[in-house]
Subunit: 507 residues, 4 copies
């Protein structure tokens, strides 16, 4: 099964290839209460410095550890409501300082407002309907109003609002009661618009399995009730059911094409409504696996598989939010090891996983004009005769196969500099290093530093001269590898007396 697959790429510069790159629009996070933690902050800081997302979305805004909704008895024994924004301010200030804005998911239910005591996750998010929809709407309005006072309406009304999370699953919304969700959506929609009509509100935030029914009925409901929903949301994962083993779950990846088709179905449903044709679809969660203890998230395989997905997710969707930026998470409890298959791009200890670089590479080509796109590579042109390439070798199971890509560009300049950043199992694989260190559960400071250094792309470079008005070169992409290339003309000359070949004794 091993071997090498060869492809040739002839880059044309006279036409633009369609490619909607929304890699940095939004990223997922563990529940909002965890945003108070220092390790969370440090990981998000790393992500923002090296990649830089615009929005961040997660659960738990109204969960009890955020302490927003409070009740007390007044002197006459009447129950009164008060709101506590101390922790919300801490979290939002922290996001502001990191240059990221919330994509507000409204949920889950404060215990004292809840109609039942069903909870989800180790951290016990209450997933029942509110005792009073008026009370819920008051909470939503007071919260948004407070945010506007603190950060200004100009900014806060650019924060998208999503109503609840995966109501089509009974673990997230009691009985997965569709009518009750539609009621919640409608009440919430108008409560938010009442605060400021500029807010944009969407739903139904379903997990990806039930889309046909839920999306269609949600839009039907909006149509009938004349609700001008601003966007549609769903999730997107790419694995079969997990097999449990101790603290871990192992899953088989589904073919990338399967997910692409599934998402296209949603696009078609939305477009089938005259009122909603072309309406934005935001994938508010996506990843390979949907469990936070699947070791695949730590692998180079994950990085390469997602490189492929990032190359086409924008075709049907306005955004796609990787679930999640970091490994401070807790939904299944506190992990025992630094590498535990968490969703994060960054492992605990501030160690970027290979997938981190997939996002970083796609961010770097954000402002380029696409000149080539296929199943293994993307070429974009930037200003001043610079080109960037991403190439990947993605696989569902181990194949042992490399791919060799041979590029040809029209060339005006005499010589070009090519810088290659390489992320594959041999060159940038912190999981392997951790395994070879003996899979330590507690990392020493020295081990963290070593892992962080080993987790950065390997950098190679070359100079290539044009030939026949063409620039031609080849690269090999290892199994599960992702490469990022920058190609630029060399215009300067050597300093007076400097002779690199003589320095290196190459002649």
């Amino acid at each position: 099964m091993a071997g090498i697959e060869k492809k040739t790429i002839q880059v044309q510069l006279d036409q633009e290839v369609s490619f909607n790159n929304q890699v940095d629009y939004c990223v997922g996070t563990g529940r909002m209460g965890l945003a108070l933690q220092k390790e969370y902050y440090d990981q998000l800081k790393l992500v923002q410095e090296e990649i830089g997302f615009q929005y961040i979305r997660g659960h738990g805004l109204f969960s009890d550890d955020m302490a927003i909704y409070q009740e007390y008895e007044d002197d006459e024994g009447n129950t009164k409501v008060e709101y506590n924004f101390t922790y919300l301010d801490l979290v939002m200030d922290s996001y502001q300082s990191l240059g990221i804005k919330p994509f507000l998911e409204l949920g889950f239910m404060p215990e004292k407002m809840a109609s039942g005591n069903q909870t989800v996750f180790y951290w016990k998010g209450n997933v029942t309907q509110p005792k009073s929809y008026d009370g819920w709407c008051d909470l939503v309005k007071a919260t948004l109003q407070h945010l506007i006072e603190r950060y200004g309406a100009e900014q806060v009304t650019t924060w998208p609002v999503e109503v609840w999370n995966e109501p089509n699953l009974s673990v997230f919304w009691k009985d997965a009661d569709m009518d009750e969700y539609f009621k919640l959506f409608e009440r919430t929609f108008y409560a938010v618009k009442q605060v400021d009509a500029r807010f944009r509100i969407g739903g139904p935030a379903i997990c990806g399995v039930d889309d046909e029914r839920w999306i269609r009925e949600f839009l039907q409901f909006c149509k009938e009730r004349n609700i001008p929903v601003d966007f549609v949301t769903r999730h997107h994962y790419n694995t079969e059911m997990p097999e449990r083993e101790g603290h871990y779950g192992y899953q088989v990846l589904t073919a990338s094409e399967y997910g692409k088709e599934n998402l296209h179905t949603t696009r078609n449903i939305v477009d089938s409504f005259d009122a909603f044709k072309g309406k934005e679809i935001h994938i508010t969660e996506f990843n390979t696996s949907y469990i936070p203890n699947n070791p695949i998230h730590d692998t180079n395989q994950n990085a390469a598989y997602l490189a492929n997905q990032l190359s086409w997710l924008g075709d049907d969707n306005a955004s796609y939010s990787y679930w999640t930026f970091g490994d401070i998470f807790e939904e299944m409890g506190v992990p025992f090891s630094p590498f535990h298959g968490g969703f994060g791009m960054v492992a605990n200890g501030g160690i970027p996983k290979p997938t981190f670089w997939t996002f970083q590479f796609f961010k770097q080509i954000k402002d380029g004009i696409c000149r080539f796109r296929d199943d293994n590579t993307l070429v974009v042109e930037k200003l001043n005769g610079k080109y960037c390439i991403i190439a990947w070798n993605h696989n569902v199971t181990r194949t042992g196969k490399k791919i060799e890509l041979s590029y040809t560009f029209p060339a005006n300049e005499k010589e070009y500099s090519i810088i290659i950043q390489q992320v594959d199992e041999k060159t940038c694989n912190p999981l392997q290093l951790w395994h070879n260190l003996g899979e330590p559960q507690s990392l020493s400071e020295a081990q963290k530093k070593l892992l962080r250094e080993a987790a950065r792309p390997t950098i190679r470079s070359m100079r290539v001269e044009k030939s026949n008005q063409q620039l031609s070169f080849s690269i090999e992409v290892e199994e599960n590898g992702v490469l990022y290339l920058e190609i630029q003309p060399i215009r300067g000359i050597s300093d007076r007396g400097y002779d690199y070949k003589r320095v290196m004794q190459y002649e």
Copy 2:
């Protein structure tokens, strides 16, 4: 000429091999006035964080840009002396904050105290004798007294004192006048001891070419005059004369053995005096080339050649101070390019050169017990069954030859983790990357970041099981490569349910 050379190393644990590792005792620097600069500070900070030297030595303490020696006319028209320690305090505070202490070289001559106007370097250090030796001694005493007031006698008296620099060269000491130097030495020696008898004072700080005559006569002089000199100093470089080309000089390296013999001669001369037998010799400067515009300093060749030297320099000497830690220097003027063959371990822009890692690796084995040493490798044992290895492949000219080293250790544990840090022309070669970027004279921030990342060792790892109570493994060292290995027993077990091979689909 290419090929592979093989060696086998059988490590014994029942005996200690002699090895005097003083890698971190002292490091050289550009003139003291440059220590006011921010780029200098940033480079020294990097060096201290990653390596950590105890002392720093350079020229120019009394040169005019430090502004210590001042004269003025009083109301009666008499010339009076005053001292200005503003900049000296800034420099010394900066050193304190970086955890490094000065190895005080007394020189050059303040212009107003000088008997002539001969200067050395672009920055014009005056190299003539003092108009008045009393004035000179006052200056020395006032300076040391001030330092004691500021930093305490306990600390300051641990700073070694060296009298002048390379007086055996007429460019550094007018006419290379030996008798005049001896006079300077004797006067200075007693001036310093008068401040505090605990100070340790040495000389004659000669460049390495003339050692036989100068060292012998210096000691003869001390012996005759009963001067209890505390240590002897000289320099050590390893190249032929340079061939100039534009801003650069190219030189042929001399064989490592040649330098070793030359240094041993000095040891023998010192030991030939009964009064001075075994007296400490400090090499207060050493490097491959003695010019700050020789591109060799930026190469992997330099790193490997010096790894060899660090393995034996302590045999005859109490210390050896690499000339210099960074590339803020200026002796030949301001360099035009970031890579210009400066002496530094760090290039401008905060980019570690390969040689940086040679020192970092030797620092890491500082506290180990040496178990093996030959011309290409060192093995030390540390606490808790941990071993560290340094291996190098050093060359005077290009050979194309790799070396393969096969190690065997007695082993008690079942399995071992081996972490390899690799610095060679293929894996850690910022000079090559800079060349492939087109040798830019002005680095953008993005280029600096890229170069800094590419300038770190590549990290590889493996697990090896013992066999027949032995741990055996081989490594290859590329031409001009330096490797650092850490070997530790693996004692932990995998977390419940974690199966690395399953994660990686290796089975």
Copy 3:
């Protein structure tokens, strides 16, 4: 009632006055799980940089948010135990990086190990006995063993160990069951010693109200069972019962003497046992009020009252740990305002409260020799003819009274510099500024900066010449004020031509 009270202080230099200054031995903290938070870290960092404590003590090591104790079912359906040290490592690493060590309080009970479901606080610490004492001992041993592996036995065995918290209150220990506590103590004591006999273990950690009975019976129990308890612990607060009003509790302070006598009783009880005579007593919590919503903690009154206490707490006790360093706390829920009467020396937003400076001042005189001590002032002599003074004007209720203190020292030098740092209601009162800002619940970044700046001591200075071999000067201390003075001889002279009076046009 207003007015001024005058005192004269004649400082003698030929005798040392007894004063046991343990101001920096230990400080209290909110529950350990909160140590994961960024705001907690930032506040502790400020405290360590400006004051610097050796130990930190708080609750919740074994509470469920630390996630240490875990159970699972194996394949045969048997319940098995496993330990998770992920968060413990994060907390301890954080403490290490801040140069502080834990004073380990063992408690509360992990839910799965608990015999009941009684909890304490908003954050629900389980306060029931273990289902199995063997299980408890295993947990204790595994935890200490893990810490030793990570930080080394040399260090970890210097961390004192205290068994549980305030078992004499039924809210903290089910039914305040004394026999059950003694059982817990004995089992724990031997479990810890089994890990390493160098560990020092103490109890009974009682709140201060019931000392006579509990301390006596605890020591009686130890005596009878031959338990070589290493130290005795209790708490110390200085208020009557609170009157509740909304989110707050208001209390009347008790006279400082009352607390002193109460503590002396404990000393006498301990000393009444031959086996324990002179045994260390550690006050593992103290403050004015024992509730975290008493606004007194934010006042200058608190600072002055505690200055008085710090001047004598060491007389009977080996240490006294201020409860707590910061305002990330949560025992009564999340506070609504930055100034909410929390225990902390630092308010949320990184704002030092007046009490912060009381500790900072006492820390500065740590290494001096005490030359004078009374109810309002302390004088210590340091090296090189330097003196430090702390003075305070403490009150239980508002009096409107200043005190004037006139000091006389024997003097050798001609002139002295006196630097005064002043903390009182007029000069360093962030609470007042916050009130005058309108008591904002959410502080903007600009308001935080303003409050932090206003929260630093005012600095004044003067020069005083000696007269009749005496240095004499007076200071006024405002109601609830605390002053810190540094007095040093002036030995330098003005720079050539510098004339301060001329500069200031004073002549």
Copy 4:
């Protein structure tokens, strides 16, 4: 002579008072070579963080320590020119990182290009005409071209260009040769425009004494030669000749009105030319004294005097650049003491002088609408009903006189918060503290910290209720004091149960 002067200020809100606040347009600096230093960087960072200027102007761009202009001999023995931008890049990168842009002063003359060897200052700036005007123009063009390549034409062309410095003084321009300067100006003007016509270029950069003749003839020259000069520049100082004493110079301040009239003369001359009527005048240097060793720069008197000047300097001028931001300077040599009368707003050691706050206060009112302005105070209105006031008590000689200012505002809200930042000889006077410390020449780290803390404004606050639809309050301004007030309505209410008076025992 002492006493109190009272004024009442009735603020009107229905009309805007003219006030051109250009406080942050530009600031002066020591020579460009000093911008390489760390202490320089630290001081500029402080200035930028707390005040924030747009441009920075100083001497020495082409002086030899910047090393830009270089000559060498080629193989045929011909002299060739090359440019070295290594240090220029370091300086400009540093400015970029601090958010400040250069106001480019072209000068002084590189030694190798100079026609003579006359120099100015301790650091020896060559002030002679170029040997070749073509060579000079090439240097100017190459330098600007390089900057454009590095930072982009969009940015670089917003950097104003000024030709030379104070050519009307023979110490700065050989023989103060006016015709030669006009030649330099014309050649340079067209050289710069040739690089990019968007550059704006001005002169004649005269010191303020000779304005009538030089300004008039300069404009006459421009008119006759049809040179479309972009702006006119001059300097502005406010003292008589210095009396020298040791290292210092003492001078008498001139009345503020005197300088105002002098500047108005320049305005009139410019406006008398039809072609240049209304042309921008930039004061590219101003301060009280023009010598860097006048202790007045360190005083509160300087701060108050300049507050007055900042209130009217914009009336006739487009900008006014304080000479200088920091005390790394060197024109008269290296200072012996931290407080030595340097020009800087910041003393060495990072200690803000009182004048620092004058600029910081004026920066804070940058975006307000002026509602009142007289000789002692300015009132501006900002958004949301907020007002800011600056008040000062400026003096030429010591008077002992306070001023009391009583303000009345129209008021809509019930209650207002007033925050007062106070800088006067009693409350914010680091010079006095340094004097009382004994005028140490070398500051310890502890002394630096103490001085930095003592150098910040004292903060006071109060709440005032409106009465008869008016808000009224009074402040006292000490001799040489400067105050900054912020007044805002209080809209929030106390937290449930919080009672400040009860907390403070005020009732």
